[in-house]
């Protein structure tokens, strides 16, 4: 780390420590709610620092992803007091802001000198702002995440496979740069015998119940030219959601599912993809970046055996689906002051640096723009490249209805094979128009 940065970090840490020590009045019991996944465990470790400094006691409520939205939205809608701090999904911002679930943080940020310009712009827009594009903040960007790809570098570097692929496609077997290349690589591996077992091309998102297949298909749709609506008038959907390009993108995703995925992968999301990859079933997996530390450390596929690449480009775009969350204070909490202290502590550059070191994807620019960041881990560069091309789903208050409609239509076409891609997207437009009419936006 450059000495300038180190000084900066040390100075902020010292200031923050004194301020925190001074303001620690009585100790409170704070509960932080998040999804149950590796980063959460890292946060538990990290928070011990906060406990020591502030004297507050932290407890955690972690729920696995498939049930996270259901459970936590239920909790918020019942004005529950389980959570003081919520690291909620980026799509909840609209609903949470408008229904008053989250505390608005503008004044707090101003008073504490927390500047949103210090964070990656995509994360500020994605995790903190509502309405989008306006300086109204409801969360501090806590965990940057984006869909990327992991591949078996050890298989890719086998000489016989290299030779065969080179002969077939006229280019080396390497991390694909376009979606077409991705499909070719996946087809190459589909059904191949490696080390005595049949392997398959890729595992992708196909989960029906919560948000899985949507989070997967958008990576194809965006890059073929799908748009959520007219950029000039966001609620004008016809011709943008179901344009010919969008149809081509959806057809691509289905062809990828049909040709190159393991059998029985009709309802797969993050855990199943990880399982398939780690057990040696697939050559590539589509997954959010949070898995990369775990992959790197895995005894079977870790270290040099795995490589990472950002979502490949398509004919009409190069995007990746945004994941990630911001940390908010729940407005029903009785411990809002202590909760705000936590956010203030978390926002410190020194803490954010440690967060990255422990496996959390910090959204602070000081951390990710530091020259040593890109080489600190094998996946760091891919993370940077991916965060530069993110695009997010709707964050409207009615996002759940929009999401459910897309889950239904897309799964129906891609997995169940009903109808055509055009019909699916036309139907989706109708569904979304109905939702917006209900909301009074149309």
């Amino acid at each position: 780390m450059k000495s300038r940065t180190r000084n900066y970090l040390a100075a902020s840490a010292a200031t923050a420590a004194t301020v925190l020590a001074a303001s620690a009045a009585q100790s409170a019991n704070l509960t932080l709610c998040w999804a149950a996944w590796d980063p959460a465990n890292a946060l538990v470790e990290l928070s011990k620092d906060f406990e020591a400094q502030s004297g507050h006691k932290m407890s955690f409520e972690f729920v696995p992803w498939p049930n996270f939205a259901d459970r936590m939205l239920n909790e918020l809608n019942s004005a529950g007091q389980l959570c003081d701090l919520m690291i909620g999904d980026s799509q909840w911002i609209g609903g949470a802001a408008e229904s008053g679930h989250y505390v608005k943080l503008n004044d707090f940020f101003a008073a504490q000198g927390i500047d949103m310009a210090d964070f990656i712009p995509a994360t500020v827009t994605g995790y903190a702002e509502w309405p989008k594009g306006t300086p109204n903040y409801w969360a501090l960007p806590a965990f940057g995440d984006v869909v990327g790809w992991t591949y078996r570098k050890d298989w890719f570097s086998r000489p016989e496979l290299q030779a065969e692929f080179q002969a077939k496609h006229g280019r080396p077997l390497d991390a694909p740069k376009t979606l077409e290349e991705l499909k070719q690589v996946a087809e190459f591996f589909q059904g191949r015998e490696i080390d005595g077992k049949t392997v398959y091309g890729a595992s992708i998102y196909t989960e029906r119940g919560s948000e899985g297949i949507t989070m997967g298909v958008t990576n194809a749709l965006y890059n073929y030219g799908f748009q959520y609506g007219n950029p000039a008038n966001p609620y004008e959907l016809e011709g943008f959601v179901n344009s010919a390009d969008a149809v081509a993108g959806l057809e691509f995703y289905k062809s990828l599912y049909d040709c190159c995925t393991p059998p029985g992968s009709s309802d797969w999301y993050m855990s199943e993809n990880i399982d398939a990859y780690k057990s040696g079933q697939v050559a590539m997996q589509m997954n959010f970046a949070f898995i990369w530390p775990g992959v790197h450390a895995d005894p079977n596929v870790g270290g040099d055996r795995s490589g990472y690449f950002p979502n490949p480009a398509g004919p009409n775009g190069h995007f990746a689906q945004l994941g990630g969350q911001g940390i908010s204070v729940v407005s029903y909490s009785d411990n809002q002051d202590a909760a705000l202290e936590y956010i203030k502590w978390f926002a410190q550059p020194a803490v954010q640096q440690r967060w990255w070191e422990m496996g959390g994807y910090s959204a602070l620019r000081a951390v990710v723009e530091d020259p040593s960041f890109a080489t600190s881990q094998p996946y760091a560069q891919t993370f940077l490249d991916s965060m530069a091309i993110v695009k997010d789903f709707w964050a409207e208050p009615a996002y759940a209805s929009l999401l459910l409609a897309m889950q239904d239509r897309v799964h129906n076409y891609v997995v169940a094979g009903n109808g055509t891609a055009k019909e699916a997207l036309d139907g989706l437009v109708q569904d979304w128009i109905e939702v917006f009419k209900d909301e009074g936006k149309l």
């Binding site: 590796d38 465990n41 389980l82 855990s271 399982d275 780690k278 057990s279």
Partner: protein, 312 residues
């Protein structure tokens, strides 16, 4: 080869029946045995393909079920060597135990809410069933059908207003709220079952007691209850099975404090992926109390299941 009586099945029929039933029993128990076995497999063995029939048993699943773990750097691991057998299992994966998991709490919640509501519904149900059985209640048949019909709504449908009600009354995510809810749902079944049993008890016994100078209440306690004991036992089994295994209400109306095991077990996540041995371990442990309760009271099951329609 003559049977002892003309209606006694022949030896050959008995053999064939025995074999067929035995075959069905084996097929039907296989999935359950597989679940129990998976609880003792390592994570890698559990997701091996093709599925492994022979494997080296380990308690990793159970340890994962009861603890939360975090990954640590190799230096940190070397600095804190494992002392107990379970710590050793965890450190082999490069992790360290961070604390107990929520499973113990959830299991305890299931015990409290399950047994609590069973007791309450059997208690109230016996009283009500007695009244329905012995007294001329206006519109009795219709009232009984109405009580039965309260079970006909899908739980989700009932959950909508209950959700709103609990939110207003502050009963969301409380033990009391869930016990009340399960009791109310079980009451209909309990009243129906117990009425059938109490109907069987001849009134002459009570009348004899009344003549002897006992009051109605004493007659109820001293005469009717002991005779209805088997019926009460079998009602209790059904009420417990329902309250123990219930999922829909639990998933919608409980959260951190009062959540029971069924919403929790399917969500047990391991390092990144689904932790099948832990899920299997959880499912196995969760099955044990009900299984024990049922095996002990299995003789009463048969009577209960026909709502007292079978004479003793």
């Amino acid at each position: 080869m003559s049977a002892t009586s003309p209606t006694e099945p022949s030896a050959r029929l008995k053999l064939v029946s025995g074999l067929l039933v035995g075959l069905y029993a084996i097929i039907t128990i296989l999935p359950l045995l597989w679940i129990i076995a998976t609880g003792f497999k390592s994570s890698a063995d559990a997701i091996a393909y093709p599925p492994k029939l022979v494997f080296e048993p380990t308690l990793e699943g159970y340890v994962n079920l009861f603890t939360t773990q975090t990954r640590q750097t190799p230096e940190m691991l070397a600095a804190n060597p494992p002392t107990t057998w379970y710590e050793r299992i965890v450190s082999e994966k490069g992790m360290v135990i961070a604390g107990p998991s929520r499973f113990g709490e959830r299991f305890l919640n299931s015990v409290i809410i399950g047994f609590g509501s069973t007791f309450l519904s059997v208690f109230l149900g016996t009283l009500a069933a007695y009244a329905f059985s012995r007294y001329r209640v206006p519109l009795k048949d219709d009232l009984l059908f109405f009580i039965l019909s309260t079970r006909m709504m899908p739980p989700i449908a009932v959950a909508i207003p209950i959700f709103l009600m609990f939110r207003t009354l502050g009963l969301s995510d409380t033990h009391a709220g869930m016990i009340l809810l399960y009791t109310a749902v079980n009451l209909s079944l309990a009243v129906w079952l117990l009425k059938g049993f109490i109907d069987e008890i001849p009134r002459e016994y009570e009348e004899a007691a009344l003549i002897d100078g006992y009051s109605r209440f004493q007659a109820f306690v001293k005469v009717v209850l002991p005779q209805a004991a088997t019926g009460i036992a079998s009602t209790a089994i059904f009420c417990l099975i329902f309250a123990w295994n219930e999922y829909a209400f639990a998933v919608l109306l409980t959260s951190g404090t009062a959540q029971t095991a069924p919403p929790f077990i399917p969500t047990i996540i391991g390092v990144g992926g689904r932790d099948w041995p832990a899920v299997a371990a959880g499912a196995t442990l969760f099955l044990v109390p009900v299984m024990v309760f049922t095996i002990l009271l299995r003789k009463h099951l048969l009577r209960g299941i026909t709502f007292g329609a079978v004479r003793k």
